[in-house]
Symmetry: C3
Subunit: 397 residues, 3 copies
């Protein structure tokens, strides 16, 4: 047995000691801890809690699917899955620590949901700078992001003088936050070499992207209604699906009109822009208004993938690897604008501007930290993690 | 910027104007719209509504999986996903328009569920004539089908003199409707060249078929119980799974007995025939009766794939591309027959005959319209939509 | 038409006669049967029943995903899916028969959940000896296992003199049972040739493993809380996810520290060991204790995959094909130990020892029966079932 393994075993023994202590400790305060930390429930509260159980799992489902939405780059395939798991794990646990120890929050389904929404936000964000950081740094980014997200979440319910923002489905809190935090990190890292690496795909890996996108689309109502009271859930389901239907159709139309072909890596993302943009005006419009929002959002997002991205990336000098900005950034702004029109107040747009600035700056700070701790890396192609494979010597037939 | 793009931008501006108007309009009538359009809920009604939320998403899940059930044809791969999305979107929104504006229905989870069931029915139907129409025509088929489905749905609850049909789980409403509407369209199009095109598969694309089929199987109880009152849901779950277990076993037995091998594209479909056939007798049999129904259905469906399909297709002169008739047509008839035996009335079988004729005729009419608006097409191989790919020049290792 | 097909048709006619009889019989006793067999529900009982509906489907989802967790071996690909379906179907239906006719249990969601948990346990177990039995023998194993599982389940709630075991999430009932029953069968079969067969993978088949593992991880709270009363569900969700987070991080750390690389077929399994080990102490620890349990479990499981498996397999003389013991066996023991620490009683560990011995012995008996009825088989490579393929002659680009 080598030295390294002995160290690992030693670390395990230490942890075992800690666990024995903590288990006894937590049991002492004890199973009571359960009673103490948990909010008591009854009647409709109980029904809501149990309904949230399902949505909690659905959002984790969506988080995992985001990995498969990004898995198409041939060399990076499994690294994406690992990066998603690590950044989600780090942000989840740190966010919960912040909520329990700083905000004194009780542990319940709603808190778990808020934590997984924090995690899915950072998972979306890493799509911007995928391939330019080391694998362990996804843990670092996750930890840093948990603080940023807790701040943004707190900020969003404050009245900053122009009224309170309306954002039941996370257009601002999740999507803008993801896009601009991600761009912030990319700006902090400034990895030019990412531009030079071709992103080859395989037919089957793109089939996983179709699967992930289609399942994300159908799971979306769980996400946008997850923290709503019972009486809003049906309405949120209606507007979310109607917006999704709109972008399924309009994204196809724009792809065909502009390119005469369909780029799956444009279409499968742009068809999700209706659900992104309906987040803020979720409960402020009717079904047909939601359909129109979806039509606009899908069209605009597809146009951004086709025309805006090359110009935008060269302008800001960093590559948005997965085109996160075209879906989540642009969709988030649209959500903020549409809700302002619908409710006749500019509060949401004002808050969107603040979130934009805040996440860009904090992202850039974390990006700089990442760059300083990263060491040398060989541009985009680097997986950093080597995976052990056992493929047959001859080429697959 | 080219002329085409300017036109698109112009169209977007126009739509933006419409949306501003509609958002204001819908807000005026307003968030009230919400209150107006939505059925109020309380007590068990509230519980049912929230339970239906999960089933609504599950049925959308199934709809997306149907795409992956059909994704195995190498050249057609992603086109199937796009065709599914477009036909689902068109039928969903038109069906909801019909229900709101013609039938004066309130928007609630049950209405959304009825709409997605309409969409999944047309998505099954397109499997019959996949590859013989242009991509945009799936929108056309979806629009036409929404009217047909609304009619069939209305018809099915009428008493036409021989009693009311029993079909809680959609053997007739969904599966027969899908199979014979699809065959009707194929008969209207009469694309002989479809016979000549080999349908090559790849190992991995067939793995997606296994995944889709296995997940459809496990989601089925959500589908058959989605519109049932609370007290029937457990019973429907029991009979649905027991029927599914039956066809998992019998389809395997028939494949091995008849061919000595298992054709995955027979087995993965035939193992779903129990759940198809239990739709009508869902609440009229016990668990062991359901198991037997599943055994029979799985065996008969597998036999149809192996022996009936070649004869049947050459007889009617059109190719049932995905063998929709062997699963949904045959399974639907079995459901209608079994429920007649179980409840001792021929009402369901009588209604099945009417649905059969009605969907075949309306399907053929839409098929003729499709043929007239289709223009020239190069037989089955045509994807119509070209997808943009970025695969590495050298063959995959 | 050949003789064989005539026989099949004859069999179908016979079955049709049986079904007509049974349907009438079950209808006579009848739709009443429904009322008779079903437990009446109201209030919170109704809410629990409906919540269990969703969990029932989630566990079936997990069962199907276990197939994709094992689908990476190139030659065996679809055979795994078929083996999973057949062993699940056989055990499900036999277990339900045992419960209805021997234990006089009522049919409800809880019974269905117990049946699918029985099935998922045997599905995990077959991972030990995959490729060493004939396809139809998975039916045989499923039938035999249903009896073993019903016995273990009954035993686990008895007080054998050292108190009652605590195992709400199945560390002992499911995971130990799966691992040692599987090893028992493998010991009964003693197929040495399995060692000599290389297990080649393909990039895309391993991507399915990632998908399956990540979805299993997120579905786990449904599994561990499926039979809990309403007030425990949130707490079980909290500890389950916290334990999962722990092993996501620690399994990565151990892979990198020990091998400098990540073996996906180690990582994707070891990251599930937190949820396995939290099963027993699910409701006896707080969130941070659960996190630590997950950290330990993920690390230990990864170490077992890397160091224990080769030694262990050569020692006992059989190959644990999927490393079931490193995840479920080891994780189960850890769960039993952790809950003993947490609640200050050795009852669970005592019961774990009994389950270990019982499943190993009964597994070995069934293994011997399998060997006797198996006939000649060509070592591990044998698919037994040949699948019909229709791949294009030329190699895929």
């Amino acid at each position: 047995m080598e030295k390294k393994q002995i160290m690992i075993l030693a670390a395990l023994v230490v942890m075992l000691a800690i666990i024995v202590y903590l288990l006894y400790g937590e049991t002492q305060a004890g199973v009571v801890a359960n009673g103490d930390l948990l909010t008591p429930m009854a009647g409709d509260g109980l029904l809501l809690e149990e309904l949230q159980f399902g949505k909690n799992l659905d959002i984790w489902f969506m988080l995992m699917l985001v990995a498969f939405l990004m898995i198409f780059i041939k060399k990076y395939e499994w690294g994406v899955a690992l990066a998603v798991l690590l950044s989600a794990a780090a942000s989840f646990v740190v966010y919960l620590g912040i909520q329990q120890f700083y905000f004194d929050e009780a542990w319940n389904q709603a808190l778990l949901i808020r934590a997984v929404i924090c995690s899915i936000t950072v998972v979306i964000a890493i799509g911007v700078f995928l391939g330019t950081v080391r694998m362990w740094q996804y843990l670092l980014v996750g930890v840093g992001f948990a603080f940023v997200y807790a701040l943004v979440e707190w900020l969003l319910v404050q009245d900053l003088g122009f009224g309170t923002a309306t954002d039941p489905g996370g257009s601002i809190l999740v999507h803008m936050c993801a896009a601009y935090f991600g761009l912030g990190v990319a700006l902090g890292i400034r990895e030019k070499r990412a531009f030079d690496e071709p992103m080859y795909t395989t037919t089957h890996s793109v089939t996983f992207v179709w699967l992930a996108s289609m399942l994300l689309w159908m799971l979306w109502p769980s996400f946008v209604t997850s923290l709503q009271p019972l009486e809003n859930i049906t309405w949120g389901t209606i507007t979310c699906y109607m917006a999704g239907i709109g972008s399924v159709i309009s994204a196809y139309a724009v792809c065909m009109l502009c390119q005469g072909k369909v780029n799956p890596l444009t279409y499968t993302y742009a068809m999700l822009c209706g659900p992104v943009a309906i987040g803020a005006p979720l409960l402020s419009v009717g079904p047909w208004g939601a359909l129109l929002i979806g039509v606009i959002a899908g069209a605009v997002s597809a146009l951004c993938f086709i025309y805006l991205q090359p110009w935008f990336c060269s302008k800001i000098g960093v590559l948005d690897v997965m085109g996160v900005h075209n879906l989540h950034g642009v969709g988030g702004w649209m959500g903020a604008i549409f809700v302002c029109i619908a409710v006749g107040s500019i509060a949401s747009l004002g808050m969107a501007v603040i979130v934009f600035a805040l996440t860009l700056i904090t992202g850039a700070i974390i990006g700089v930290i990442v760059k300083l701790t990263r060491g040398d890396i060989d541009g985009f192609a680097t997986d950093d993690v080597d995976f052990i494979k056992n493929e047959e010597p001859v080429a697959e037939a």
